[in-house]
Symmetry: C2
Subunit: 287 residues, 2 copies
């Protein structure tokens, strides 16, 4: 079977796989100061944002990723008030964070303002909370922002970035994690998208080791489905400055006053479950 011109295809070189979405129209394309952004209307997945040829999100299935980047960390922390999002320009993670009434202030530091402007136009539902007085949208370099932030000033840091190649590379390093740890409060949590457990075990292991080397007390990887990313299975990794990250505020989730489409207490617990090959791969790296 071959695909005609009505498909967008992303090749995952390292996996020897490719994923394609059927396209109705290309809605927009531009080269920004940082990257090339394209927006497509798909046949079945709503609008699609692609950066430098890599799928960022679709309207149909972004809820898995955005919920899993926000809620596990926020319901693990005993009382998250100040949140920092690095990247996250499509504002889907920001929307999930702002659903928590305990949260008093969220700064989002996205390097490319055009990502957010295009999200406002083509993914308006993800940007519906951008006007929330608790939200501050800052466009600039996340690494610099963290380096200049005060010690112990943030409860949760969410790194919602592109892959660890190109502009986002510095966000996957021990020096960056060390700075994150410094600006976190004692019960603070860092959470970061961490690629596919099937295809990128090397990246996940390296990230976890770098987090530990940076002084974090505990590290937990969350697993979840993500159809539009390579292998259809994705992860986020949490690092706790002092918390152990295996328990969470289950009562608060049960009583939450907002809707989620994927996340609930059973899913939170399920996302922490570690496949046997995953455990073995981590042990091998540590040896």
């Amino acid at each position: 079977m071959t695909l005609d011109d009505n498909w967008f295809t992303e090749i995952c070189e390292e996996g020897g796989t490719a994923f394609s979405l059927q396209i109705k129209a290309k809605l927009h394309e531009e080269r920004t100061a940082y990257q090339r952004i394209a927006i497509y209307e798909t046949a079945q997945f709503g609008n699609l944002m692609v950066i430098d040829g890599f799928v960022m999100l679709s309207q149909r299935d972004n809820f898995f990723y955005h919920e899993m980047l926000a809620h596990p960390a926020l319901f693990t922390h005993p009382r998250p008030r100040r949140v920092l999002i690095i990247g996250g320009g499509d504002c889907g993670t920001l929307r999930e964070v702002l659903k928590h009434q305990d949260v008093e202030h969220v700064v989002q530091v996205e390097i490319d303002e055009r990502v957010t402007r295009l999200a406002e136009e083509y993914f308006p539902e993800l940007c519906e909370s951008n006007g929330d007085p608790r939200a501050q949208l800052h466009f600039g370099d996340g690494i610099q922002w963290v380096a200049e932030a005060a010690d112990g000033s943030v409860d949760i840091i969410i790194v919602d970035s592109t892959d660890p190649i190109g502009p986002a590379e510095g966000l996957f390093t021990e020096p960056f994690y060390r700075q994150c740890r410094r600006i976190l409060t004692p019960e603070g949590i860092l959470v970061q998208q961490s690629e596919s457990p099937l295809l990128h075990m090397d990246i996940i292991a390296a990230m976890r080791n770098a987090m530990t080397a940076a002084g974090f007390h505990s590290v937990q990887t969350l697993h979840f489905p993500q159809c539009v990313y390579p292998s259809g299975w994705w992860s986020a990794t949490m690092a706790g400055k002092a918390l152990d990250l295996t328990s969470f505020r289950e009562d608060a989730i049960m009583k939450k006053d907002f809707a989620t489409r994927y996340y609930n207490p059973a899913i939170h617990r399920a996302s922490l479950a570690c496949p046997t090959f995953f455990e073995a791969a981590l042990e091998q790296v540590q040896e």
Copy 2:
């Protein structure tokens, strides 16, 4: 990005998605009495079996599916001794079942003997237990086999079939489930592959309703990653004749004398977790 001739692509029409694997060579192709079978050598996923254009399995990632089709049901049943596999011609599920020393007898009823003969040649590791004296490979019609089996003669029925279109259609119906229930022992369990929770919620809901209508006491869907199937996220659905299926023999899993690559007690529990949209979709169907 377009794919050249060195890729095998499967289009999922109903999802508007396609998944491709990079190919080194086509190793075999034939039309059997039932279907067209092709075997490829892929760049990164080992050998690949394709039936009528649909990916059946790859050497790299079949362990998710085969372990999840076998072990949750076998560790939920208090003492599974007699197992029936419908389909399963690649013998990967059979291998997992035979790892259980409690199992005394397994009959596999695959309609197309060529699937098994090609698996023996191109997926020899999956067929390594085919000579086990407890295993009986029967080539014929699974529906007929079940219809002719004695009441209460089987502890576990595993339906490891293709999609519910074409030859496997009859395996997703209430009359078939009624026959399965009849031949199961009182604590018996039926488990069946049940498509993608993201793309085929209609099929899953219909299967579950048909299982309940057939008189099964309880129904539980298991979720797991499966890179080579549409959406990269797959499911199996268990139906219990009398058991409730939410508890399982965790101690036995901890003490098992065989290796698994994905499955363990935490993964078993995780696979039972129900996404919020999944619960909502089932409620909607019931209303």
